[in-house]
Amino acid sequence: VLTPETVSFLEGGCSCAVATVDAANEPYGTRGWGVTFVAGDDVRLVLDAADRGAMEDLAATARIAVTAADVLTLRSIQFKGVARSVEPATDGDRERVARYCDAFFGNIVAIDGTPRTLLDRLVPTDFVACTVRVEELYDQTPGPAAGASMPEQPS
């Protein structure tokens, strides 16, 4: 499912919106703090460790959707899949969050002029890392084609 170009996009300084769902089919929105390619169609997604809603949903259904959006062009890709594991963040994950914030917030500061100190207020204080098996990809770029399934391409 994942092509090198898609991986490069997902690992860049995109905004990262996340949806989970509980056993009663109640959706829940939250934010992700960095995506890293693992292998095959697996990616590692960093989440807020204090986000009980997301943690409980992942434990109950493991279903997850993530939309990554380039804040300059608004090009957006949504991937959907299953959380294979959730574990405490490692030092590497925390470094990944720092790099992600520098890239993502850096883009916002450059484009919108929002002070970095304001953006830092969004950042959680502790994290977990979730390994997601990506099953579906969608072009989520705003416009007439938003939501179209992305064709599979050879890696």
């Binding site: 089919n25 929105g29 608004l74 949504q78 416009g143 084609a145 938003a146």
Partner: protein
């Protein structure tokens, strides 16, 4: 709704930071996407703009529950709203409010023909949670939200009092933009007047910009200012950069599908990096006179109260301008049909005046000065100056000059003369216009002239 109300979150709905919506299909597959616009409907409901039929829409028909994240653009506090989809509206006040938002995006990105609101989806909010209390490590630097309009009734009262004392159009437009800055704390403002055919707006005065921009134009219907003129309703945007970015992103998507061809970006007069822009119609006797626009670098700088105050100012300005125009025509009736000849004074240097009959465009030494009616007026005056040595004129004789092709009614001659005067002043031109009395003015030419008229094609 829990301990917080939608009113507490009002800044979140100004569109400065995109909201996020999470939904789920009936088989339990979640979906997440960004929203272009969310508005408060009442104390318990919000409305979401729907421009494209999407997975979100399909999910809601199967499972009406959703989770929406919003961010306060001033504090960056984040909130999660648990909502239930109630209904879709395709007409009515909520739909119209969202339609204005969507049309504003279309207007700034040249997509009026393809980018339209399809529906307004109404959700009932069952719970609001603060996502994260402000971290001690990241104190709220926006505790002081910075300057906003000083919405004090004294300032508004003083401004309207000053406007009511203005003796002529020049004083009215100057007092408007200067008074907004001095009395209401609005540092950047632009007053545009409607032209005679009602098709374009031209700048007559501004405050707070490097160049006054007198004479710059925008077509009715183009951009935010043009939309305000076309609909005679106010528009308030607190997220200009976000809106333009979103609009251009959508435009690229339409271009890639070949539904619209790549085109120019509409040039919006004013601050290049404005975050907030509010434009209100200036109406008198039910007719549009012009549009008053204010801008700020600050996000979400203006509130509904500010919109109301600016609308009051615009109404007073429109009334004053209409009264002045009516007085000018009455005054003209009592003046002789032509001004008194007066010896021209010796000028220094030589100025090449090039006039294009086709549209009245006028250039001084190759530099664009003005076009349209104001250009024709200057060309006519300079002709009299060269042929008859005349420098003194009356508005009445200008009004009767057939070469100007003025409409019989609502000719706005005084506005055009003022536009010409201000444009000459702004350009530090060697030709100036000086008011010498009610309905009278003098052409002050401090240069030798070389007049060069270019006939219209086929003339």
């Amino acid at each position: 709704v829990t301990d917080m109300s939608l009113r507490d979150l009002h800044l979140c709905f100004e569109g400065a930071v995109p909201a996020v919506i999470a939904t789920a299909s009936s088989d339990g597959t979640p979906n997440v996407t960004y929203l272009s616009r969310v508005r408060v409907v009442d104390d318990f409901r919000i409305a979401v703009s729907n421009q494209f039929f999407s997975k979100t829409t399909r999910n809601l028909t199967e499972n009406p529950r959703a989770s929406i994240l919003v961010i306060d653009p001033v504090s960056y506090d984040e909130y999660r709203m648990t909502v239930v989809y109630e209904r879709t509206e395709r007409r009515g006040p909520v739909f119209e409010r969202l339609r204005e938002d969507v049309d504003a995006v279309a207007a700034v990105s040249g997509m009026q023909d393809v980018f339209k609101l399809r529906s307004a989806d109404i959700y009932r909010v069952s719970q609001i949670d603060r996502v994260r209390a402000a971290s001690a490590a990241a104190p709220n630097p926006a505790a002081d939200p910075g300057p906003r309009i000083t919405t004090n009734p004294q300032g508004l009262g003083e401004l309207t009092a000053r406007l009511s004392r203005c003796p002529d159009l020049d004083a009215i437009v100057t007092t408007t933009v200067d008074g907004l800055a001095e009395l209401l704390g609005i540092g950047h403002s632009l007053l545009m007047l409607l032209d005679e055919p009602g098709q374009r707006l031209y700048t007559i005065a501004s405050h707070g910009y490097p160049a006054e921009g007198v004479g710059s134009e925008v077509a009715v219907g183009d951009g935010i200012v043009g939309m305000v003129a076309a609909r005679a309703t106010a528009i308030r945007v607190g997220n200009m950069r976000q809106m333009v970015k979103y609009g251009m992103g959508v435009r690229r998507a339409f271009e890639q599908r070949g539904e619209i061809s790549p085109g120019r970006e509409i040039e919006v007069p004013g601050l290049a990096d404005a975050e907030s822009r509010m434009a209100v119609p200036a109406l008198a006797l039910g007719q549009l006179v012009g549009v008053l626009t204010v801008e700020s670098h600050q996000q979400v700088a203006y509130t509904e109260s500010d919109e109301a105050i600016l609308s009051v100012v615009a109404s007073v300005v429109a009334g004053a301008i209409e009264a002045e125009r009516a007085n000018a025509i009455v005054d003209d009736a009592g003046l002789p049909g032509s001004g008194t000849p007066r010896a021209r004074r010796a000028g220094t240097g030589l100025t090449h005046v090039r006039f294009f009959e086709v549209d009245g465009s006028t250039f001084l030494d190759g530099n664009y000065l003005i076009k349209g009616v104001a250009g024709r007026i200057l060309w006519s005056l300079l002709g009299h100056y060269e042929r008859e040595q005349r420098t003194d004129f009356t508005n009445k004789e200008v009004r009767l000059d057939p070469s100007l092709e003025l409409p019989e009614f609502r000719d706005n001659l005084d506005s055009r003369l003022l536009l010409l005067k201000r444009r000459l002043d702004e350009q530090a031109a060697p030709i100036r216009i000086e008011k010498t009395g009610r309905g009278r003015f003098r052409l002050d030419v401090g240069t030798e002239l070389r007049l060069d008229g270019v006939a219209a094609p086929g003339a």
